[in-house]
Each structure stands twice: as structure tokens, then as C-alpha cells.
């Protein structure tokens, strides 16, 4: 397995290089100029050009690329063109809210969606199956921001149980930290609960028809053991894939949820950086996201071997 792990990591290097080159070129070829944004509304062309020169944006493209790659190889992601702060410090400020929200949402998703999917498969065609399936259609269909606003209206404005917006670091108190994560986690998980509940149900239905399930029941095993130990474990591979991909999506940016609940995460950072053409920040974030996808996919592949002993690397 170690050899497989190292091979996969080495294979990621050309992927990252292609991503780096593509994002660099795409940004430079797209319209927009950070110097005009820095200079402000009243700046004249001469001031804008002075800023371009100071930022190195008047250098030839290949020079800019090699300077960036050279710094990257030394672990330097550069400095934001707009705020003049280190890109790494900007990303690290935003990492905690994003990871916290993603972990809370994915945990809620798994806790709710997997049992719902198992129960729906077990009670196929019964009212509870129909209820789970129709509710999941609602989860898919209603936009995330609508769910967010409804939750805010009910739980924050009407009942006043939870805050309407904002994020507090865990350092500022566990109570504040959790209370401000509940509504965004519920909002963000709604679509994933729907997706994973359906996915679990489908996988379980496939497995429940297998001979070894019939054998397990014939041996007199209880329904819970049959469902969760024998069936779910064998149905887990596609579910794990979706959970992993969902987590990667959440970490790489959930702009709408972050915006509605005013959470200063990576999603908003990347949107702000794109709008202000802050090249070093965009480049670092896209590379980070690409790296994250590579690692999460690798971890998912490795987890298959844990849930299904037939899989060997």
C-alpha cells in the first residue's frame, strides 16, 4: 500500500504543474487589471502604469511565471497585490472557518443521511421510504440560499435560539463556536443529506438482494447486524466516494453559504480575489484546491481497502 501511496503522490506532480501553468495563463489572458483596482477611481493612466511597474506586471509573461514558480518551490506563495499581506497568512486566516464548517456539515450529513438511506432501503416501498425519497427531492431542488434564509428566519429571528450570522473561532469559546456553526452546517448539509441518503439507499438495495445477506438472515442474525455490519459495509464504496468528494467541495469553497451566514472562509476569499484580480491569491488557492482534491481522492481510494478487504493495492 505504501508503494501505491508514493506512486499516487508522484503522479500528482505533473497534475499540479499543469494546473499551475493553466491558472497562470488564464488569469493573465482574462480581462481586468489589479493596478487599476489598487489605484482607485480617480487615478490617471500614468499612476496605473506606475503601479503595474511596481507590481512587476509589466514584465514579460514568462518572466512573471518563472518568478512565481521559483518562489513557490521555496514555499513562498507571494504577497497579495491588493492588501500587500502574505498570501499564506490570508489563506491560513480563512482555513479554520472553512474546515470547521466542512467538518460540521459532513458529520451532520453522514449522521443523518446514512441511517435514512439504510432505513429507506430496508423499508422499500413503505411510507418511510417514500418520505425519505420525497424529502431528498426537496433537498436537491431548493437552492441553498433559500434554505439558509428560512433557517435564519425561523431559528435566529423568530425563535432567537441561534445567532443570525458570523463566525467565532474556537478560541473565543466553544459555545459561541458551535452556536454559530449550527445553521450554516444545516444549510450546507441539506443537499448532501439528500444526495447521500439516495446513494445509500440505492447501494443498499443492490446489496440486500445478495446471497450472503440471505445467508446471514438464515443464520438468525438480527436485522440491525444484517443491515449495518453485513449490508452497509459492502455498500460503502460508492457512499465513501460521494462523502469524500462532498468534503473536498466544501473545503474548496461554499460561497453561497459563507455569504449568507457571513463566514470568512476560502470560498469568499477566492471570489474576492477573482473580483479584484489578485493574481497571487487566486493562483495559490487554485493550487491548494487541486492539491486537496488529489489528497482526498487518494485517501478515499485507500479507505476502500479498509471497508472492503477484497480490495488490495
Amino acid at each position: 500500500m505504501l508503494g501505491y501511496f508514493i506512486r499516487r503522490l508522484l503522479a500528482a506532480i505533473p497534475v499540479m504543474l499543469v494546473v499551475a501553468l493553466s491558472v497562470f495563463l488564464l488569469l493573465r489572458l482574462s480581462p481586468g487589471d489589479p493596478a487599476t483596482i489598487i489605484a482607485g477611481e480617480m487615478a490617471d493612466a500614468e499612476q496605473v502604469n506606475n503601479i503595474r511597474t511596481a507590481l512587476g506586471l509589466n514584465e514579460p509573461l514568462h518572466t512573471q511565471f518563472f518568478i512565481w514558480i521559483g518562489n513557490l518551490l521555496q514555499g513562498d506563495f507571494g504577497t497579495s497585490l491588493i492588501s500587500q499581506t502574505s498570501v499564506m497568512s490570508m489563506i491560513s486566516q480563512r482555513l479554520e472557518p472553512t474546515i470547521s464548517l466542512a467538518l460540521a456539515a459532513i458529520t451532520l450529513t453522514v449522521i443523518v443521511a446514512v441511517p435514512l438511506g439504510v432505513i429507506a432501503a430496508w423499508k422499500q416501498g413503505k411510507w418511510i421510504d417514500n418520505l425519505v425519497m420525497s424529502t431528498s427531492v426537496v433537498g436537491f431542488s431548493v437552492p441553498v440560499f433559500v434554505i439558509g434564509y428560512i433557517l435564519i428566519q425561523v431559528f435566529a429571528i423568530e425563535l432567537k435560539w441561534l445567532p443570525v450570522q458570523g463566525y467565532r473561532s474556537i478560541d473565543e469559546g466553544i459555545g459561541e463556536f458551535i452556536s454559530r456553526l449550527i445553521l450554516p452546517a444545516m444549510t450546507l448539509s441539506s443537499v448532501y443529506i439528500a444526495l447521500i441518503a439516495r446513494m445509500t439507499r440505492a447501494s443498499m438495495l443492490e446489496v440486500l438482494g445478495e446471497d450472503y445477506i440471505r445467508t446471514a438472515r438464515a443464520k438468525g442474525l438480527g436485522q440491525r447486524i444484517v443491515l449495518f455490519r453485513h449490508a452497509l459495509r459492502n455498500a460503502a464504496v460508492p457512499i465513501l466516494t460521494v462523502v469524500g468528494a462532498g468534503f473536498a467541495l466544501m473545503v474548496s469553497g461554499v460561497v453561497v453559504t459563507e455569504t449568507v451566514f457571513n463566514i470568512p472562509g476560502l470560498g469568499r476569499l477566492i471570489v474576492d480575489a477573482v473580483l479584484s484580480r489578485d493574481y497571487p491569491v487566486i493562483q495559490a488557492l487554485i493550487l491548494l484546491t487541486a492539491g486537496l482534491y488529489v489528497v482526498i481522492n487518494l485517501l478515499i481510494d485507500l479507505s476502500y481497502a479498509i471497508t472492503d478487504p477484497r480490495i488490495r493495492y
Partner: protein
Amino acid sequence: MLKPKFNRRSTGLGMLAAAGMASALSFAANVQADTTVRAVMHAALRGLDPVASSATITKNHGYMIYDTLLGLDEDYAPQPQMADWEVSEDGMTYTFSLRDGLTWHDGTPVTAADCIASLKRWGTFDAGGKLLMANTESLTAVDDTTFELKLAKPFGEVISLISKPSSVPAFMMPEAVASVPNGEPLPNQIGSGPFKFVADEFQPGVKVVYEKYDEYVPRTEAPEATSGSKEVYVDRVEWINMPDVQTTINAINSGDIDYIERTPYDLMPLLEANPEVHTAVNDPLGWMSVARMNFLHAPLNDARIRRAALLAVSQEDVMAAMIGDPRFYELCASVFGCNHPRSSEVDGESLTSGGDLEEAKKLLEEAGYDGTPVVILQPTDVATLAPQPIVVAQALRKAGFEVELRPMDWQTVVSQRASKDLPSEGGWNMFITNYSVDALWSPVVNPLLISSGETGSYFGWPDIPEMEKLRAEYAATTDADTRAQQVIDVQKLAMQEVNTIPLGQFKLVNSWRDDVSDIVQGPLTAFWGMKKED
């Protein structure tokens, strides 16, 4: 009967818990003792150099941590702030004397040398500052707290330029900071203003934190606009960026924040229904919306066609679409904005009376308009800039223009407007933007009137020698009556040449919770003077 049992371990744990609780309570008390105003400003602060950047949010940041030599009172008249001034009898030498007790945030005293370096730096960025420096023979320190500005030729705008609040105010910085070469970031955020910047808590695009500067010595006069006392009554100010307006409204209604700098007009009813929230206009002058013409390319390189475009526009239609609520806008045909002493609406009657389509059509015919489309850049992501291009385009079409609206985000507009290419090759004919009236209010400060062609003019690059002559005459004149006539002459020429089409004047609505009070009226949100109940 149950008796409590004690042992060494539980007693120790109990003491630890008590100590922890006491410490937590003490921490909580400290936190509560600080009065913090949480405000949502109109934009996120990212750039920190209020002289190099003319972004409004960066200017607001500048007023928090820096101070200015002079300020404006509520009648927009210059007043002493950091310094008092005297003018020699011949009007050629201005002597500035710093008041006592001024210190930078690192404790060192503010000196004349700091102010000279700051004025020189400002004079390389701001259009008004450049003009002042072009007319200045020397800036010399007389002693540690006094310096002289000697003019090279008569110039009537020294005091008004140094006291102006837009677009780039003359902020005073320590000499070491003001000596940074242009294009390089400032080495620190040390000013002498009423607030200190808390660098450790700055999150670009998310939050900015300011703390009261305890050693700040305020003036004794009452606070007015950017002058008078800047005494601070709160311990901390936090600017929190909220990208969603509905979230902002929910936050002030629930008490999460105390102040909104620009309240969205369409969500005003949600605040007006809450007795705990006040809404009001704190800046009586407000902003102008203007359509900027590109003088380089057809069809708007012909003054008659530009005038036809102006005649086609009805300000009422634009303002109704943009603001909606008539309490917050007024029609104003002056290129200087209205409601201040330098305003004139001469020759702009059509703008405020619904437009004059017949005259516009006639002019287009006279000019031999050949149907070349007018390319209008249309920002779609800013609520106060999105509606105008649509209304103006429709008005132009009614007059007989062919119009192409080019939708894009505002930052792309900001980049594209610098392009001198043909409109068919990525250039443009017209874009629309908004300016605070104090950035437009005289022939000298108004950047849209600069008409020196491709060198020195604002985007659009008008080349009108007569306008440059009038502006220069105004700058050199000190007689009030002559200046009043010069303002009218500039307005007349601007209506004839149409550097821009004034689209109407509008007010920004501020909102705050009822435990906040004593908000200073003026051209920016001032956090000095503001009080908040504990």
C-alpha cells in the same frame, strides 16, 4: 442527613475550577468594559495607503488613523485641524503652525518636517495636490512646528485643496512613511489620528479593527464634518465586511452590528419597522451619478452628438430606476453637484425636465450621425451602478442612437475604461460611475473637467483648451464675484462640450441601533464623537 465530603483531590480541582471561573469572569468583565462599535462599511478594506489609492473605503481608513492639517466645517468652509494658518499680505506665502500635543501613534511628536514630506507625497498622487505643487515654489520648515508654503505664482486654492475631503485628502504621515517611493507599500500604519490601526487583527476583506488612541489631543471646538474635536468615546471600532445585504439587515436588527454605512434602499422598510434602529442621511451633499464620454472615438468624438446624448437623458428616469425612493435623490444639472456655494445648473434644463428628444433628434441629424453604435460598459454587480446604463441606453435609442450595452463586472469596467482601443476592438464610448459631490464641487478639484487630452485627463480624455484656460483662471483668482462667474462659464462650456452627463444627485442612508448616538454629520462616517451606551 448528607454531609459534603471533601478530599484533597476534589478540593484542588474545586480551587482550580474557581480560579478558572474567576479568571474567565475577569476576562469577560474586561471584554464587556470595552465599548466596541461594529460597523458594516460600504466596501471591504484591502488597500491601506489612503494617499496612493483614491478608493473611498481607503480614504475612510485614512481618516481613522491619520489627521489632516485643515478640515471642513458643516458649511464646507476650511477650519484649522492639526494646524492654524496665516497668509502674507501679497497672498504668496502661507505659514502653518502645528498645535501643541500632536504625537504619532508610536509616541514621537509630529513635526513640520513630517508635514512637508506628507504634502509632497500627496502632491505626487492627487490631481489637486499636483496642481498645488505645480504652483508652489518652496515648502520650508521654519522650526519644529511651523512651516511655510511659498507660491511661485498667484493661486487661490491653497487652503481649499489642503482641506478637501475628496478624492485624496492631504493626510499627514511620519516623514519616514511619507518618504517611501511611489509604488511601494507603506512600512507601517502609524498616524496621528484619533484611532490606532490594530495590525494583528486585520483580515483583508473580512475585518478591520481600530482602537482609541489614548494620547490623541482633540481640538476644543465641537465636531463638524472633518473639523473640530475628534475626541473618541468608544474603545474599539470594528469594520466588518458583509457581502450579503440581507445578512447585514438581519445583523443590525438582531444587534450583532451597530451601524450600516450604506443601507440598501429596497430593504429600508425592514429597518424602518424596527423601533430599535434609526435610519438617516448623515452626508447632506451625497453623491452624483455621471455618464462619462470617450472623446477619442466615433460617434461621441463629435460635440454635437455628445450634446444630443445629453438632451436625450431624463434624470428623473435614471434616479427613479436607481434609487426609487424620492426622499433620497434630487435632480441636479450642475457638473459640480448641487446644494453648495459653487453650484450652477445653467444650460442643463433638459436634464431636469424629462429630456428633450426632439432637439436631440435634430442635433443628430445636423451632425450626420451614421448609426455607429454607442458602446456602453454595463456593470452588473453593483446595485448603485447597474440600473443607469439600461435607462441611458433606452433614452439614447429613443433619440435615434444605436446602442450596444456590454455587460461585465465593475472591476472589468475599471480596467476596460483605461483602454483607448476602438469600441469595436475592446474599447468603449460611455461608462457610468458615481462621485461624492465633494470630489466634484469646483473647477479645480473636479477630475471630470480636466480637459488636457490624452495626458493628464481622466478616462475619456477630453481635449478642450478653452476648458483648461477657464480652470487655470479660476485657480489663479481670489475674488469671490469673479469666481462665481467663472463657475458659470465652466458649467456652460461643460454643457456644450459634454465631458459628462450629470444623471442626478443621491443621498446615502446610514442606519444605527438606538444605543449609538452623537453621530457627526459630514462627507464620511466619523467614528470620533460617536457614543455608545455600555
